[in-house]
Symmetry: C2
Subunit: 339 residues, 2 copies
DNA sequence: TTGTAAGCGTTATCAA
DNA sequence: TTGATAACGCTTACAA
């Protein structure tokens, strides 16, 4: 495409190594030649070949991000946060979406074993059961950072929100609003976030002396319509809950759609609180939705900063086995408040 | 990280070139050695170095996607569609988000001049005024595909929806519902989609004999709160519209928020139709929003297919200067229907 | 301060 | 059918 180092050097009647050093601002090169080199490079619009450089230096200046869903403000926001930091440092982002499919996730991770990226940031698929592929990656010394949906057994850095506490508080809020039969909606029992959020829910019920009814703990699929129907079935059953804690945003939307298919009304017959990323949408729903929102952009930024630190400074230690907790915020809206 | 070709060859007591050919299934290699090579490669988990290969072959197996916003179902869906196709062919996606900032867009495009990606798929920033950077790229023979927000002057392949017709029909729908003062909301006058959608709007008014009031044609910024306030000002002014055609989804949400700050009600005092990607959200808004939705995933798939064709088949011609139109669908909901 | 040469891991040409 | 060698474009010892 453009001009390369050799041609640039020929034009300048200098050796490629001198030109390389000049462009990399080496102290061995005189100011005069540096200027000459830089000005011609600019004039000819010289762009170093990234692959030659990567091959030579054994690093790609690229970070891979693996998320379960793209049409999801939560993940989209985190990626925005990561890019905000990494772009400023000249890093590129390979973004992969698994569509919640473990096989796809494994394939992607395997493809990344070859050094195409210098690090991976991942929030795992809801269908994940074993973490062999990620373990292997980590054991080989590959920089790996988790956020949100983590693998707790893998000793590396993780960014999560205070799932337990948020869920505990959210459940408590429902209890305070008079709910006696509180359902818990989740995507998969295996997810780290599910476990933590479930614990918070359970402990809040315990503390209030409410018996946990396992028939009110529902696991959902990737099929939207099917989810809506399941919820509707629950809502018209004898065992109808009067409160719902949804651990995933889209299950709250599914609930709203299910309610529309019944004679019930929120918050009169049913109160609902949900982990939810998009507060504009939450506030415009009818009724507006009480949410638990995580500072996702911040999480992305933190991931980005950590990785830039690790990848750009020489002789960095392994990423610490540490879990950073960035607290969520509960915003009470009409879906849990009796009018 | 893992083993490389030379080591694999040494282990097999073969030359690197033989091993390379065996792995690439060359017809010159005997079945016997092919099997030996492949089995050891699998056993040692050999992964070819992508940079060595890219350097040698002068292609990256990577496609760059540039979008204005990540937290936007429209763009997220298109990227999903692209990935659906390209991933199956072993291509990787570098995804860049400009946050509607032209300078950022230019920087990104310039970074991609060096061959890091084999092609670019882009929907331009709303603030774009000159397309020098994209023109340069195209003139250098770099494969470039536009979708949605295109640069019509650059002779390459574009994927859009039937903006004019959708907008015309949408406006007509408002007129049929009795609207006499119809506003048009946009992000920037420069965008291709704005121009086309505006034309459709204008012609529909003309046809109905309604005078276009330019005070009802509003351009908005990136500042959410400011947008809401502008809309509110309009709504409480003497020149209040009774219908709105919003050319951008988030301006419809801003309108809903603005309405909440007034005594007005949709659809009684104000009817609204909007280009909008997320039909779940549209149906759950209060009142549910009449939308014009584009098959975005399909657009992504088409982009992907075209590029795979171009990049994987030998001796492909330049991408044709052709605009593919994938029609949108109007879904009438409560925001435009008097109860 | 600058130049020479080797090497990163592949693949392709030519020779055996 | 296989092997030796050069080349892709860059950086970095080592020499000058």
């Amino acid at each position: 495409m453009g001009v390369n180092l050799k041609e640039l050097a020929a034009e300048l009647k200098l050796s490629p190594s001198t030109v390389s050093r000049a462009l990399n601002d080496s102290f061995e090169i005189s100011e005069a030649t540096k200027q000459k080199v830089i000005s011609l490079a600019k004039k000819l619009d010289y762009q170093p070949n990234p692959f030659a450089r990567s091959l030579r230096e054994n690093k790609s200046k690229t970070i891979a991000v693996i998320i379960p869903e793209r049409i999801n403000s939560y993940f989209a926001n985190v990626v925005d946060g990561i890019e905000e930091i990494t772009q400023a440092h000249g890093y590129h982002l390979l973004v992969y979406c698994t569509q919640e499919d473990v096989e796809r996730e494994k394939k992607i991770v395997n493809l990344l074993m070859n050094g195409r990226a210098d690090a991976i940031v991942i929030s795992v698929s809801s269908q994940l059961t074993d973490n062999f592929h990620l373990n292997l990656l980590h054991e080989r010394g590959f920089p790996l950072v988790f956020f949100d949906r983590i693998c707790s057994e893998i000793p590396t850095t993780k960014y999560i929100t205070n799932n337990y506490e948020s869920s505990f508080e959210g459940t408590n809020h429902l209890i305070q609003q008079g709910c006696k039969k509180i359902a818990f909606f989740m995507l998969s029992k295996e997810l780290s976030i599910t476990k933590e959020r479930y614990s918070g829910y359970k402990d809040a019920l315990d503390q209030a002396g409410i018996n946990l009814d396992s028939k009110l703990n529902l696991t959902f699929s990737q099929n939207e319509e099917q989810n809506i129907e399941s919820i509707k079935e629950l809502l018209i059953s004898d065992n109808r809950p009067d409160g719902i804690l949804s651990s995933i945003g889209k299950l709250a939307l599914a609930t709203y759609q299910a309610v529309k298919r019944t004679n019930l009304s929120i918050p009169r017959d049913l109160k609902i609180i949900s982990f939810f990323a998009d507060s504009t949408v939450a506030s415009l729903l009818n009724p507006s939705l009480t949410t638990i929102t995580t500072p996702t952009f911040k999480i992305g930024e933190e991931c980005g900063k950590l990785l830039i630190q690790k990848l750009t400074k020489p002789k960095q230690p392994d990423l610490p086995n540490q879990t950073f907790v960035i607290p969520s915020k509960i915003t009470i809206r009409s879906s849990t408040i009796e009018i």
